[in-house]
């Protein structure tokens, strides 16, 4: 059974009793390498665990976090009412140590366990022991998880339940040759899924034979066709143990990169009530067919003619469940707990409303400028969620100081905004993204911020091919208009002057008096994207008037140089920028409209003298291949002396379950190879040199 992308883990929460309330939350992980540092797992889970704990708190249920000794400072451990350490770092001694966990359950008097997904949910031995102790499972039973977890079996069940399924080949492909043959029969494009990959991981789309055979190298998975320009909708279902099931409307999940969702919203702009009902009813009938109980999600692919096809059913609370909660007013975690306890559903289908609009952005630690998001790693040196804004919800399992490593999913958080209308929710999302402080890792806020303001997205014309169609040459960040450019230049200039003025302020009694340069006017030279602008700046208090090419820009603000956020007013408009970098040599990086821009501010004198400075020649990159991200080398296809053609694959780097083919930038002979399969490489490490 596959582990799902975000949670290749098990978490369980246990809860409620009439006498003594206690929830036990334990976590398990399937780490690739048993020697992997377990402390890094935290991020993956905590996000969900904290969400569960929050609901339990609301319900008056006490929670107990189970953790290994290294995770004692993880977020979920901090927010739980009680914490039990079940052993040392290795998972076999802690999270997999059934005895320790059973002891923890007994010791705390906990009465329910959520088996989650991953090994423990399939571990019948564990289930038996829990049952023997009279401890309740929260979540669907093993049978449903197994049935829906198998991509092939799930389709057969769906077909039997009269759910629309995608025409295609549901089986294991032996080699590239066979893959090409089958793909040809189905018709391009086809989606090929690696058997090892869960969720969107390992899913690739091939548009022709060549691409299919390239992928054959990796895959032994199944092939199905894909709606070339379709939608991805997820129907939330809720089923109790008494055969009752509800559908809680759809979530629009079409904005994806590498078949993983990036921006989701509920409801969808495209879906009409009839289609919604038809989909909902099929989802419910599928749930009934597997005797599903608890919350689950049925994913459909939808083509432009509103034909929908069953893709898969996720037997868990999905990442984007908060947006369904926002528009329906239901707390899904609470519903899951009720269902587990054996209560009947409280609501009828006709009770389920669509109130307002909710949008969710998945904030990832990844570089959106590389294939819409290649994983990045680092330590979150600064981290501040925009929680002081109303109608903003952030579910995250990380905190300032967390490490983001190559071994886990790079998700930082899910950022949800809610509004009465879609417009309001999107506006709120803009503010939330501008006020979100993430330092230490590269993140995808530039891309998220661009998507939600893109005219095509705003008008609701969304499809799974949104990103490649809108950015055919790759994402390049926000393109500044002339007016925005002026705003940015003016802000940088004002910030520079504010910093200069502060550096003359010395406090205390001074033996030798300070004679600051008295100036109310500054002539500055600001460089942005290799073009240089002459700016005139004048100041009165905290207000700066910046003259750029004859146009005046008024900028005012507090100019707190220590704050990560820079809330300012530009020409009467309120904006929040972030100052990412400010150096003595005049470099200023500002995050403006989501994208980070590098500027250099110099006095007129310094700028005029800079022209004498020697140009330092950057290294020629066409003959060297560097790793675009941290990861491990899966395969190296060349050796020194080989001749390679431009675009030919040289090696494959894997990070976070994702394989990236590295190709030659020019036709040349291979000079040297600096890596071998199995090596761990960092971003920018030299892999192969060409002549």
């Amino acid at each position: 059974m596959k582990h799902h992308s975000l949670l290749r883990s098990i978490w369980c929460h246990v809860c409620f009793s009439k006498q003594r309330c206690g929830v036990i939350i334990c976590r398990y992980s399937t780490v690739y390498d048993p020697n992997e540092k377990v402390s890094l797992i935290i991020r993956d889970f905590s996000l969900f665990l904290t969400c569960v704990i929050k609901t339990c708190k609301k319900m008056g249920i006490k929670t107990v976090a189970v953790h290994s000794d290294v995770d004692s400072s993880a977020v979920h451990v901090k927010v739980a009412d009680e914490a039990v350490c079940v052993g040392p770092a290795p998972t076999s001694k802690s999270y997999l140590n059934m005895d320790a966990i059973m002891n923890a359950i007994k010791q705390t008097g906990a009465q329910a366990v959520h088996p989650g997904y991953g090994f423990l949910s399939e571990n019948k031995e564990f289930a038996k022991r829990l049952a023997a102790e009279g401890v309740t499972f929260i979540g669907p039973d093993t049978h449903a998880i197994q049935a829906m977890g198998d991509k092939i079996e799930s389709k057969l069940i769906a077909k039997a339940a009269k759910v629309n399924t995608i025409p295609g080949f549901d089986g294991v492909v032996k080699d590239a040759k066979e893959a090409v043959k089958i793909a040809g029969e189905i018709g391009y494009p086809v989606m090929i899924k690696a058997s090892a990959g869960g969720g969107g991981k390992g899913m690739r789309i091939a548009w022709n034979d060549e691409e299919t055979s390239d992928m054959g190298f990796f895959l032994s998975g199944h092939i199905s066709d894909i709606c070339a320009n379709g939608f991805c909708w997820c129907l939330q279902v809720l089923a109790d143990k008494h055969g009752n099931a509800l559908w809680l409307n759809e979530r629009e999940c079409s904005i994806q990169r590498r078949n993983q969702k990036v921006v989701e919203e509920a409801p969808s702009t495209f879906l009409d009530p009839d289609t919604r009902r038809a989909m909902g009813e099929q989802a419910v009938s599928l749930a009934n067919a597997v005797k599903y109980s608890s919350a689950g999600t049925v994913e459909f692919l939808v083509d432009s003619k509103k034909n929908f096809y069953f893709l898969e059913m996720n037997t868990r609370l999905q990442v984007e469940h908060p947006i369904t909660e926002c528009i329906t007013g239901l707390d899904l975690v609470q519903q899951m707990i009720r269902i587990a306890k054996g209560y009947k559903l409280q609501h009828k289908q006709s009770d389920i409303p669509i109130n307002g609009w909710a949008v969710e952005s998945r904030v990832y630690a990844e570089d959106p400028y590389k294939s819409f998001g290649l994983p990045s790693i680092g330590r979150l040196s600064q981290y501040q969620e925009p929680l002081d804004l109303p109608n903003v919800r952030v579910d995250s399992g990380i905190q300032e100081g967390s490490d983001i490593s190559i071994y886990y999913d790079p998700m930082i958080s899910k950022l949800v905004t809610y509004g009465k209308t879609r417009e309001e929710a999107l506006k709120k999302m803009e503010d939330a993204l501008d006020n979100y402080v993430i330092r230490g890792v590269t993140h995808n806020i530039p891309l998220l911020r661009e998507i939600i303001v893109h005219p095509r997205f705003v008008s609701g014309v969304i499809s799974t091919k949104f990103l490649p169609e809108v950015y055919p040459d790759g994402f390049k960040g926000h393109m500044l208009t002339a007016g925005e450019r002026r705003e940015l230049l003016a802000t940088a200039a004002a910030l520079y002057v504010a910093a200069q003025l502060r550096s003359q302020k010395f406090l205390g009694d001074l033996r030798v008096s300070v004679v600051p340069a008295e100036s109310r006017q500054w002539e500055l030279c600001v460089e942005l994207d290799k073009s240089v602008h002459m700016l005139g700046v004048s100041r009165s208090g905290n207000n700066y008037t910046v003259e750029i090419d004859g146009e005046k820009v008024e900028v005012s603000g507090e100019w707190n140089l220590a704050s990560a956020l820079l809330p300012i007013t530009i020409n009467g408009k309120h904006r929040t920028l972030q100052c990412l970098l400010r150096t003595a040599a005049g470099e200023i990086s500002l995050q403006y409209l989501g994208t980070s821009f590098k500027l250099r501010v110099l006095s007129k004198l310094a700028a005029s003298l800079s022209k004498h400075m020697p140009e330092k020649v950057p290294e020629d990159t066409s003959s060297i291949l560097r790793s675009p991200m941290p990861g491990s080398v899966v395969a190296v296809s060349v050796k020194p002396g080989d001749n390679v053609a431009e675009g030919q694959e040289i090696c494959v780097i894997e990070a976070m379950k994702m394989q990236n083919s590295m190709t030659a930038a020019k036709t040349a002979k291979v000079k040297s190879v600096h890596c071998k399969a199995g090596d761990t490489v960092g971003e920018g490490d030299l892999l192969v040199e060409l002549e």
Partner: protein, 524 residues
């Protein structure tokens, strides 16, 4: 006849009859153009600024007050007495000015005049401003760009060097002295920067060596380029002669302005305090999780340092040399502090010859100029081995010990993890008059690591693993030190900034003196 000759030959530039005012203007103009437009163009072509351009950029606008613009060399040999060989001001520009409003004395060698070579007059100009800087109590910044001694002047030039050296030594510990090497600096000339507190270099355009590649080749038959022998990379990574290198002249001068703000004007002044926007009681949640659970795992000490400081701003000194120790300047609640930290990421943060010397010199600078020192300790001990022993780790390690022990400025110490053996004593321990010594909960103050200790205590005995566990239980935590008062408190890491800011305020009025002595005898 005589008069006639005098008129035509001796004063061709101004002429005896031209009014003094005109001559003054002429000389002044000549001084401002240094070696002339051609040489200025050549200087620019090399990617270097002129002596005056550099000062203009280094100092606040219109703040430079020049001294000795009319001084000329006095050499009368080898045709040097000829009028076209005299340049008003000679090969150095000197004076005083302001950096962010604060007084500084400067000299800037002019490569366009005789290659910036040092004449008696040149040295005399430099000495004059140094003398005045000492009397006033203000730092001296030298911008070095000189081919070396003025060969034509012979011993006069050597005397000039020695005069400067003497003043460098006299000023040492009285006013901060900074050298920025912006061109060649060879032969005896190198010793002036070496005597100053900080030596910075410009990448690709500056060199420091005793003898150039040609002499090296003839004496030792080594083939080496200027850059390899004495470039910025060599001196900031291999030799430890320079404290930092910058991309180019503009970058270097702007950074120097920034650096200057950290320094007090003299040993009579307290560490400067600037306006601070960073809340002094700001919690730093990331610090609670930074020290890995496994004590063998590395982490980056700079993450702790950046988290604690005002605005994460850290001016690191020698960032690429002896990287197992981190030193540099920063501010806490606006006040300049010196940071010393073991770097677990490099060689486990052990102390070796180079890191001891690097740390010692930095600590002594801070002590001389009233800059409080904050020490972050995660040290497994001194590096063992023949290379270290033969190299004299004993006497070099003693330097750091000496420097911490002798220092009377406020000393705050935070033990983040390991503080083992003699290295524990060295790193600003309570026993060396640390004012406030903290331990994080992850601290382990012990004679050595558990394994080594157990091997000695229970030599030859069985159940070593059990003994090791017992040792860990007993000593691998902050209690043995805390119950003896060797650490003042065990603190939550996230409160470190708040605690230090509060302590610094209290310790600002600290007074401590060492016994009278002519001078101390640090093990050099």
């Amino acid at each position: 006849m005589v008069i006639f000759l005098t008129k035509t030959h001796q004063f061709p530039k101004g002429g005896l009859c031209s009014p003094p005012r005109e001559r003054i203007e002429k000389k002044r103009k000549a001084a401002l153009t240094g070696g002339g437009q051609l040489r200025i163009a050549a200087q620019h072509k090399r990617g270097k600024l002129t002596a005056r351009e550099r000062l203009e950029l280094l100092l606040d606008p219109d703040s430079f007050v020049e001294c000795d613009m009319f001084v000329e060399h006095r050499c009368s040999d080898f045709g040097m007495e000829a009028d076209h060989n005299k340049y008003p001001g000679d090969s150095v520009v000197t004076g005083q000015g302001r950096i962010n409003g604060r007084l500084v004395y400067v000299f800037s060698q002019d490569f366009t005049v005789f290659g910036g070579s040092l004449s008696g007059a040149h040295a005399q100009k430099v000495c004059k401003i140094m003398d005045q800087a000492m009397m006033v109590g203000a730092p001296v910044i030298g911008l070095n760009d000189s081919g070396g001694a003025r060969i034509q002047e012979g011993v006069e030039s050597l005397a000039g060097y020695a005069d400067i050296f003497l003043r460098n030594v006299m000023a040492s510990g009285v006013v901060p002295q900074i050298s920025l090497i912006m061109g060649p600096c060879a032969g005896g000339a190198v010793y002036s920067p070496a005597l100053t507190d900080f030596t910075f270099m410009v990448k690709d355009t500056s060199y420091l060596f005793i003898t150039g590649p040609d002499v090296v080749k003839s004496v030792t038959n080594e083939d080496v380029t200027q850059e390899e022998l004495g470039g910025a990379k060599t001196h900031t990574t291999v030799s430890g002669v320079a404290h930092r290198a910058f991309e180019n002249d503009v970058d270097a001068l702007l950074n120097l302005r920034d650096f200057f703000n950290f320094l007090p004007l003299s040993n009579k002044d307290p560490a400067p305090v600037t306006e601070c926007h960073d809340p002094r009681d700001r919690p730093v949640p990331g610090l609670d999780t930074i020290v890995p659970f496994e004590s063998t795992k590395a982490y980056d000490m700079l993450d702790i340092v950046h988290g604690v400081l005002d605005e994460r701003e850290f001016f690191e000194i020698m960032p690429n040399y002896a990287k197992n120790i981190v030193v540099g300047f920063a501010r806490m609640n606006g006040r300049t502090v010196g940071i010393v930290g073991n770097q677990p990421k490099v060689a486990s943060g052990c102390l070796d010859i180079n890191s001891s010397v690097k740390g010692a010199r930095f600590v002594r600078f801070c002590d001389a100029f009233n800059i409080p020192i904050i020490t972050f300790v995660d040290v497994p001990g001194f590096l063992p081995g023949t290379a270290q022993e033969y190299g004299g780790i004993i006497r070099h390690g003693a330097k750091l010990l000496y420097a911490f022990a002798e220092a009377t400025i406020p000393k705050i110490t935070v033990i983040t993890r390991k503080a083992y053996g003699g290295a524990y004593d060295v790193m600003s321990s309570k026993h060396l008059r640390g004012d406030v010594n903290y331990a994080w909960p992850s601290a382990e103050v012990a004679v050595m690591g558990a394994k080594g200790a157990v091997q000695i205590i229970f030599r030859g005995k069985e159940n070593q693993a059990e003994a090791e566990a017992e040792y860990v239980e007993k000593f691998a935590n902050p209690f043995p030190a805390a119950v003896r008062g060797f650490v003042d408190d065990i603190i939550q890491p996230s409160t470190t900034r708040k605690r230090i800011c509060r302590d610094l305020e209290v310790l600002a009025s600290k007074k401590q003196t060492n016994p009278w002595k002519k001078h101390a005898n640090i093990p050099l």
